[in-house]
Structure formats: structure tokens, C-alpha cells
């Protein structure tokens, strides 16, 4: 589904990604861990197409299409979703209106008909239950005055509604208390299907107790320096990121 080869990217003239290689297949959950400043969020932003992130080498294909050639909105319509580390507040734009406009914009790009308000509301109610979010959230402005936990849950709710093929969760677990973390994890688990893949960017292993990944990668200094299964995350939790970045082909540190 997603194939990243030798990806190099710069932000404000500084090289942050220095040759990322990663393949994600349908149905898989990949966790990307690493110390602060390793380039984790940069990877998410490059994949979503944020301005100011300059790809200097390498390729990214999504279902065989050159993802980097697409505008952010076309990436969304193609099925890529980025759950933001810091969801943006949009005063004056009602959440329901925002979601309906977004969904119909995607459907239009894919040549599908708009959902009418009845169909849309039915879908919203269904998906709202998944995230256990209060209905009044729909009538408020996007993320405005939401608590940290509500913002992150709202991201997952948007994901549930937009049904992407590939969801990139950028530190969705950061700043959450244990209850909110569990709710986010429950939402993600309910959305796991054989057709959908997840890339979870996280600093801590905590989320991975609730959403068990198929693969864990360690990103350090712009490269993936180690890959493994869930046990790698547990080792990182015990030993920290110190010493990573040097080639350790076996991955054994004990």
C-alpha cells in the first residue's frame, strides 16, 4: 500500500529525514518510535503534504501512485489521513459543517455523489458512538475550547468518518490521561480492518499496550535504525533510546 524509499526531506534548510525506507501493507499496524528530534513528525507531515517540508530525494508511492506529486487534499481523497499532534482550532466553523464539507470534498474528488444531510447525520451518529464523544461536540466550532483529550478523540472520530485506507497518527497519545488513551485505543482498534493500515508515531510505548502493533521501527537522526515486533518497543521502554543510531544489525542490546 505505502512504499517509502530512500526518503530525504528538509525543513527550513535543515535536513531532517536522511533516507527512510518503509513498506506498509494493508491490514498492518506500524509503530514508529524514537527520541525527540529524530524526524518522526516530519515524516507524518511529509506524507500529508504540509508546506515547508521539502523532499530532496527518494520516492513515496501509495497504491502505486506517486504520493508526493499530489496536493494535500488529493492525498486525503486517495485515502491518506493524518491525525495531528496538535489539532487546529477553527473558530466559527461548526464541527458538523466542517466534517460534511470535508467528506463531500473527498467524495467529489473520487467522482462520488455528495451525501445529503440525512445520510450524513446517520453516519455521524454511528461513528460518534465509536468514540464515545458527547453529541454537543458536533455543534461546537472545530476543536475550539476542546480539552486535550477531546481534541485527540475528535481526530479519531474524523478518521472514523472519513474512512481512510492509511491513517498516520502523529503522537495521538501525547498529553492524554489513561482514560482518554484507552478511548483513543478502543477507537483505533475498532477501525482496524484487513484493508486499512496504520502508522502510529509515538514517543512512548504506553499506547502500544492498547493498540498492539505488527511492526515497531526506531527512527533516530532521520533514519530507521532498527525494526522489529512489539518486543522492540518493550526493550526501548526498559533501556531508552540511548545508543541507538549506531548500526546494530542484530538489534540485540541485552
Amino acid at each position: 500500500m505505502l512504499k517509502i524509499e530512500n526518503l530525504h526531506a528538509r525543513v527550513a534548510g535543515k535536513e531532517i529525514l536522511k533516507g527512510i525506507n518503509l513498506t506498509v501493507n494493508a491490514g498492518e499496524v506500524h509503530a514508529i518510535m524514537g527520541p525527540n528530534g529524530a524526524g518522526k513528525s516530519t515524516l507524518g507531515n511529509v506524507l500529508a503534504g504540509r508546506d515547508g517540508y521539502e523532499v530532496t530525494a527518494g520516492t513515496v508511492t501509495f497504491n502505486g501512485v506517486d504520493l508526493l506529486a499530489l496536493l494535500p487534499e488529493a492525498r486525503a481523497a486517495a485515502g491518506v489521513f493524518l491525525a495531528f499532534q496538535y489539532p487546529v482550532e477553527i473558530p466559527g466553523v461548526n464541527n458538523t459543517y466542517f466534517l460534511r464539507t470535508a467528506l463531500n470534498a473527498q467524495r467529489k474528488q473520487r467522482g462520488e455523489n455528495d451525501l445529503d444531510s440525512m445520510q450524513f447525520l446517520k453516519l455521524v451518529r454511528e461513528r460518534l458512538k465509536v468514540m464515545n464523544l458527547p453529541a454537543d461536540l458536533l455543534h461546537r466550532a472545530v476543536n475550539e475550547g476542546f480539552s486535550g483529550g477531546e481534541k485527540k478523540r475528535n481526530e479519531i472520530f474524523q478518521m472514523a468518518l472519513l474512512e481512510p485506507q492509511l491513517a498516520i497518527l502523529d503522537e495521538t497519545d501525547s498529553g492524554l490521561d489513561i482514560d482518554a488513551l484507552k478511548q483513543v485505543a478502543t477507537g483505533v482498534n475498532m477501525l482496524r480492518t484487513p484493508e486499512r493500515a496504520f502508522v502510529m508515531i509515538t514517543h512512548y510505548q504506553r499506547l502500544l499496550d492498547y493498540v498492539v502493533p505488527d511492526f515497531v521501527h526506531v527512527l533516530a537522526d532521520g533514519r530507521i535504525v532498527e525494526s522489529g515486533d512489539k518486543s522492540l518497543a518493550i526493550r526501548l521502554e526498559q533501556h531508552g533510546y540511548a545508543g541507538l543510531g549506531e548500526p546494530e544489525p542484530t538489534g540485540a542490546s541485552a
Binding site: R50, P72, E73, R75, F84, I90, A105, Q158
Partner: protein, 433 residues
């Protein structure tokens, strides 16, 4: 020589014969205001109130005075229709009253609503104080020519204690004519003690023709009166220069929503005097010039009575090469203790060629006053735009949604739901693509 009287605008406006009504004080006021206009001409940008609105281009145009065919100009009632809003309506086309487009049947008790031309026949004396005014300042050039030339307008009075359920609609249309016209309207509005009125005023154009319209309104709220005043302007390509003077007596409460959507050169002088103790003014406005339009709002609020309140929030959105001007001046007069004044102006520039000049001013000469004011000029939030695009909206759609939300904020507290929706739709239809 470039003396004021030599400009085509002055020459054309002064070429028309001065209206004679056979009412000596009125004819005298017309003569004197016209003489002042002829002597001083138009203000230039050295006059503080016109600093950001140069009149040089306008002064080079000429305008025919009045429209003898105003009674038959084609105006589609859909232009001013307000879906879901009932109530009496007075319509003026190119400054002349149009009975055929108006709705004056079965006026509720306690409401006087008639064209100025008729009110002068019935009881000119009642209008003497307002209409014998002399405008002393060169900055008032258009009020002078209005006082000299206006043949018609609105006289509206609400009796003491009368609370009107349906809004009164006032419509001023600049209709396409063979030549560019100067038209004028003069309105006198008075709310009696403890009365209530909702007023919806529209200033509209039928086409891109560059007429020059002037409107001067005096609005008086007696003690305890409540006015909800909505002003929707889309003059299209016309020039429109207006002055609204509100005077609020004790405990009177005026609420105003102003939408400025069009006009080649548009000026709105909004003067609010909180004369009586406990008077309150709430104002919300938005101006959205595009193309090469120029929209200038000059809001002046004067706190005079004890414990008066003003809360005014204006927003501007300029696109293309358009220019917006906002000057918000709050003055708390000596002795106006306990005043509470809050004034903001937030602006969005949507294109590199657009410009908005904003100038909040605060002068306080009293004690125990709370006053806050602020102004910002910015661009659309790039973070929000990316967030919306990452959810599938195209760049233009995302920009339109953000801009629309920015403008709609001024309607936030509007009570009349159908009217609010109409205004929101008018604004949305007006957003740059």
C-alpha cells in the same frame, strides 16, 4: 487653477436648481448648506476624517441631479426581498419614493411611517429642528449637499410605549439610468419612550453604474427605547456616502448590524451619542471590498451620560486590489463616569494588493471608566488551511470556509433567524472565489 468649484463633480451638482418648498426655514437651510458646499468643495486627505479616502477620482466625475424617470425605473422586487421577514416597507428608487414597490397598508397603531415629501406637507414644523441643521465642517461636504438637495426620505416615528413586532423595512435602490445620477435621501427616525422597533435598511444597486447616492439619517431613541437596526449595503458599482447619527437617551438600547458588501466608493459615518444615563449601544459590522472597491467606516461613539455602555466589533475582509478603512473613535466626555467602552476591529487581507487601514482611538475625560480597544490586520491561518486540506477540502474551498466563518461572527448575536440567514447567505455569495 484647481479651486474646489472647478471640479466636474461640484460643477455638475451645483448646476441643478435648488429645490424650493415654500417653507422658509427649510429653503434657508438648503441655501446655506449649498453655499457652504460651493465655497469649500470636497475635503482632501489633509482633513483627518478623509485621510484614507481620497476623493480626487470621484471629483472628476459628473452626475445629473435627480432622476425624472425614477418613478418608472425597472426594479425587480426580488432585489430587496427578505424571505421570512414580514412588515411594512418603504422603497426609494434613485432618491424618489416608489409607492408601487412599498407596503404601507394597515400600519400598526403607534407607528408613523411616510415619505419625507408627504411628512413636510402634513407637519413640517415637527421636522424643523432636524432639517434646519447647518453643517459647519468641510468634512461634512456630502451632508451639506444632501441637506441642500434631498427631496425625499423616510419619516418614522414610534409612539411612546409602542412595541412593534414586525420589522420596518427601508429600501434605497440605485437603479440603472441613461446617465450617472446623484441622488439623495434624508431620514428622520424617532422612537418614543420605552418603545421598541426593529429596522432593516437596505442600500442596493441594480447594476454596476457609478451613481452617487447620499443618505443622512437622524435616529433618536427616547428614554428606555430599544432599536434593533440592520443595515445591508450592496451598491454594486455605485458610490454611496452615508451618515447615521444615533442619539440615545436614558436607558435606551441601540443594537446595530452593518454589512457592507459592495460599492465603488462607500463611506459610512456612524455617530453614536450615549446622552442619557444607562444608555447602551451594541454594534457589529463587516465590510468586504473586492476588485477595486473602497469602503470606509467612520464610527464615533460619545459617552455622555452616567454608566453608559458601548460594545462595538467591526470586521473587514479585503481582496484583489480593494481597500478598507475603519476608524473607531470612542470619546468618554467629562462627567460620563462609569462608562464601559469596548471596541475592536479585526481584518483579513486575502490578496497581496489589498489594503486595510484601521485606526482605533480612545479619549477619556471621566472617572471609573472601563475601556478597551484593539485592531488587527492579518491573513488566513495557514495552519487551519492545511488542516482543512488534509481532510480533503481544496485550497479555495478551505479559504472560503475560513473567510466565511470570520465574517459570520458579526451575526453571532442576531435574534431574527430568517434575517440572520439571509444576511449570512448574502455574505457567503459575496466571498471571493
Amino acid at each position: 487653477m484647481n479651486s474646489p468649484a472647478s471640479s466636474p463633480l461640484l460643477t455638475s451638482l451645483l448646476a441643478a436648481p435648488l429645490p424650493q418648498r415654500g417653507i422658509s426655514w427649510l429653503d434657508a437651510a438648503r441655501r446655506e448648506n449649498r453655499a457652504a458646499f460651493a465655497a469649500d468643495g470636497l475635503p482632501d486627505t489633509r482633513v483627518e476624517a478623509w485621510k484614507y479616502t481620497p476623493l480626487r477620482a470621484l471629483s472628476q466625475r459628473d452626475f445629473a441631479s435627480g432622476d425624472s424617470a425614477a418613478g418608472t425605473r425597472e426594479v425587480d422586487p426580488a432585489l430587496f426581498a427578505l424571505p421570512g421577514v414580514a412588515g411594512p416597507r418603504l422603497v426609494f428608487v434613485n432618491g424618489m419614493f416608489r409607492a408601487d414597490l412599498s407596503a404601507l397598508e394597515a400600519l400598526p397603531d403607534g407607528l408613523v411611517l411616510q415619505p419625507l415629501s408627504r411628512a413636510l406637507d402634513d407637519d413640517a414644523e415637527a421636522l424643523r429642528f432636524v432639517l434646519s441643521r447647518h453643517y459647519r465642517d468641510i468634512g461634512d461636504a456630502f451632508a451639506r449637499i444632501n441637506a441642500a438637495s434631498a427631496l425625499d426620505g423616510v419619516v418614522l416615528r414610534v409612539g411612546a410605549g409602542v412595541k412593534l413586532a414586525a420589522p420596518v423595512q427601508l429600501v434605497f435602490v440605485g437603479a440603472v439610468a441613461p446617465v450617472a445620477l446623484a441622488w439623495h435621501a434624508r431620514n428622520v427616525i424617532e422612537l418614543g419612550e420605552d418603545s421598541e422597533l426593529a429596522l432593516v435598511e437596505q442600500h442596493l444597486g441594480t447594476g454596476e453604474q457609478a451613481h452617487l447616492g447620499t443618505l443622512v439619517s437622524d435616529i433618536e431613541l427616547r428614554a428606555g427605547a430599544r432599536l434593533s437596526h440592520t443595515l445591508l449595503q450592496n451598491a454594486k458599482g455605485a458610490n454611496l456616502i452615508r451618515r447615521n447619527s444615533l442619539r440615545l437617551h436614558a436607558r435606551a438600547h441601540g443594537t446595530m448590524h452593518v454589512l457592507e458588501l459592495g460599492g465603488a466608493l462607500v463611506r459610512h459615518d456612524l455617530q453614536v451619542e450615549l446622552t442619557g444615563d444607562g444608555a447602551r449601544f451594541d454594534g457589529r459590522g463587516v465590510f468586504m471590498p473586492h476588485g477595486r472597491q473602497h469602503i470606509d467606516t467612520q464610527l464615533a461613539i460619545r459617552h455622555q451620560g452616567l454608566n453608559t455602555t458601548s460594545d462595538a466589533h467591526w470586521r473587514g475582509v479585503a481582496s484583489d486590489r480593494a481597500r478598507g478603512v475603519f476608524r473607531g473613535a470612542v470619546l468618554v466626555a467629562p462627567g460620563a463616569d462609569g462608562s464601559d467602552a469596548n471596541l475592536t476591529n479585526k481584518n483579513l487581507l486575502l490578496s497581496p494588493g489589498a489594503e486595510i487601514d484601521t485606526k482605533p482611538e480612545l479619549e477619556i475625560y471621566a472617572d471609573e471608566v472601563q475601556a478597551a480597544h484593539g485592531a488587527t490586520v492579518g491573513q488566513l491561518d495557514e495552519q487551519a488551511l492545511f488542516y482543512m486540506r488534509s481532510r480533503g477540502m481544496g485550497r479555495d474551498e478551505a479559504r472560503a470556509v475560513l473567510t466565511g466563518a470570520f465574517c459570520r461572527a458579526v451575526l453571532g448575536d442576531m435574534v431574527n433567524q430568517p434575517l440572520r440567514e439571509h444576511l449570512a447567505e448574502s455574505m457567503m455569495a459575496h466571498l471571493p472565489a
